[in-house]
Amino acid sequence: MTHDHSGYGGSEFDIDLSTDVLVIGGGPAGVWAALSAIDDGSTVVVVEKGYVGTSGPFGVGANTGIYYIMPNDREQRDAIVAARQPIAFGLSDPAWGYRVFDQSYANLDAMAKWGFEWPRNSGGKEDRGSLRGPTIMAFLRSVLLKKGGIVLDHSPALELLKSDGAAAGARGVNKQTGQTWQVRAGSVVIATGGTAFLSGIVGDRTHTGDGYLLAAEAGADFSGMEFTGQYHAAPLETNLTRGAYRSGVGTYYDNNGKPTLEGRQLVQALLETGGAWDQLDKTNDPVTQDLIRKTHALCFQYFERKGIDPFRQRYPINFVLEGTMRAGGGIAIDDDLQTRVPGLFAAGDVTSREKLVGAGPPGGGPASAWAFATGHIAGRSASAFSKSARGRGGVRAVTGAGRIGIETVAKPRVTTEEVLRVVKEEIHPLEKNYWRTGAGMQRSIERFESLWRDVATGLGPVSQGDAKSTARERLKTREAAALLATGRWIYASANERTESRGLHRRKDFPDMDPGQDGQHILSGGLDTVWLRRTPHVNTLTNSQGT
């Protein structure tokens, strides 16, 4: 089903642009995609739902690690790549590890050449393995603008454009002005990030799975959506699911004061003793404490502004869903970062990161490297596609691929508030999504399917008085639809995988099943969710490590 300009107030767009490569999402992956496409000689437009520089989990000022490997140090190369394999549970491709960590080194090196000053240790040596998001993103934004990239901030994409079966741009709105926009393009990179299903973690408000829905409507599919049961501790009153500040110095306790390990034991402590606590009690050294405070300034705003001394006091914590903002499942991509749809590329957290981390958790270092590296590769691939006969420089006749929540409906069958409520009720709770069960997921799936039938035909933006409110309403509607769609792919995939593996934990199948070794689960579909098992294949033929 396609449609033309309806729903945008006639056939005119307030902003109508044509470019070689359109990048949707301006976090690290999107900005690197834009930079590499420009360096390949393409013109680029970046549309960002928030602001290029502050959006998403990376735009938050917590210190984030990034993995890279030195090009000529074989021992280091092999050690860093090999370290990930035991927690990838047979679903990663080691050659992709070399590729990603090599490319992130190249990106960090490019930043140094562009003038970014990396910190040096007391011996004068430079370290590029620790990133402060807002500072990095402000720097990359200025480079992008200097190189001629066009940036549309506050401009969420609401639907993709297609032409002859290939991705050909997108349409959307500006949240601040209410203007409508259309960008026709020779190819498209989706870099919209993962989603925490609005669990409330810092930076999650912009990350509502929009890119999954855009991609699915265009015909893309997903891989590893069951590897999404990712939660993290945060001080109870906050949304700071960050662990680096307590690394090596913190101790978790259950509600009875008994020390407990992180992960499953901590979840057990919360569920069984009714609470959990944290204290940075493994260092008494005031110099160390001061350096922790200064290094992790964002997390310490909580302690300082609320008058808590985390080195001497225990503070209560909760375990909060991070979902695909940290877990590996996402849009299936090939070695060029192309999705199933010709001309549609994806990069960063929105993609399946199984090639790098398999079923396991990416952690900050590999996730940053994945964003930097896949952004770069996707941008280059998209630029090449745009120059090819199929891309034809973005001058083709286009049609909108959006289907769900685009059009105003005469008789709404459901509200966005209702959709969000149901999705949160089924996806947030530890008892449903950290520990999954077949019976529990079956109930969630039935609830989702019934709701989806209403959404598919009876969810649309409600007319608002002014253009700005209308733009916000359009976005809200798409966000709700995207989260429900994503929840469907997650539980369908998780129900299919009758074992526990990595970030997929089942109470009814607590162990890994050797019979399901080396199998990925692909998923997709809007009207009906489909699933397909596919054997793991190492797709990069030459290991770059030797």
């Binding site: 928030g50 735009g59 860093i80 040096r120 240790n121 430079e126 620790s130 402060r132 930076g203 110099v287």
Partner: protein, 133 residues
């Protein structure tokens, strides 16, 4: 969650409106205003970018009850996060701006992780070979 804008410091320059990823702010004639408080995710970037240290974001995810605005301003906390990240006049430093993470690493020393932790042991074995120069 964002709590207040100090109207006496705010010059209505519009920086917070420009950079807020969730469009929490609007611009009134004399100052910025908080128009969509419920959309704030406490990313604190408005504090970082504000050239006048006029914005206070509470570290709590929910609105604070009985917040004492004048006590907060008097405490000197306004602008403290911006200073901690070395930002000035709405701009970041030309690099990381400090080497505290490296100093911390040197101060703590790096003890080898337990051999049972294979990942950290492997990473530990090559830990300083990433340093450049």
């Amino acid at each position: 969650m964002i709590e207040f804008i100090d109207e006496t410091s705010c010059t209505a320059c519009g920086k917070c409106v420009e950079i807020c990823p969730t469009d929490v702010f609007d611009l009134a004639s004399a100052s910025a205003i908080i128009a969509h408080k419920e959309d704030c995710t406490s990313c604190m970037n408005c504090e970082l970018y504000c050239p006048h240290d006029a914005i206070y974001v509470s570290p709590l995810k929910d609105p604070e009850v009985g917040l004492d605005r004048s006590a907060i301003i008097a405490s000197g906390v306004m602008g403290s996060y911006r200073k901690a990240l070395h930002w000035a006049d709405g701009r970041g430093p030309s690099g990381t701006g400090d080497n505290w993470a490296l100093q911390l690493r040197e101060r703590q020393g790096e003890r080898p992780p337990p051999p049972s932790d294979k990942i950290r042991t492997q990473l530990y074995s090559v830990r300083d070979r990433n340093l450049i120069g």
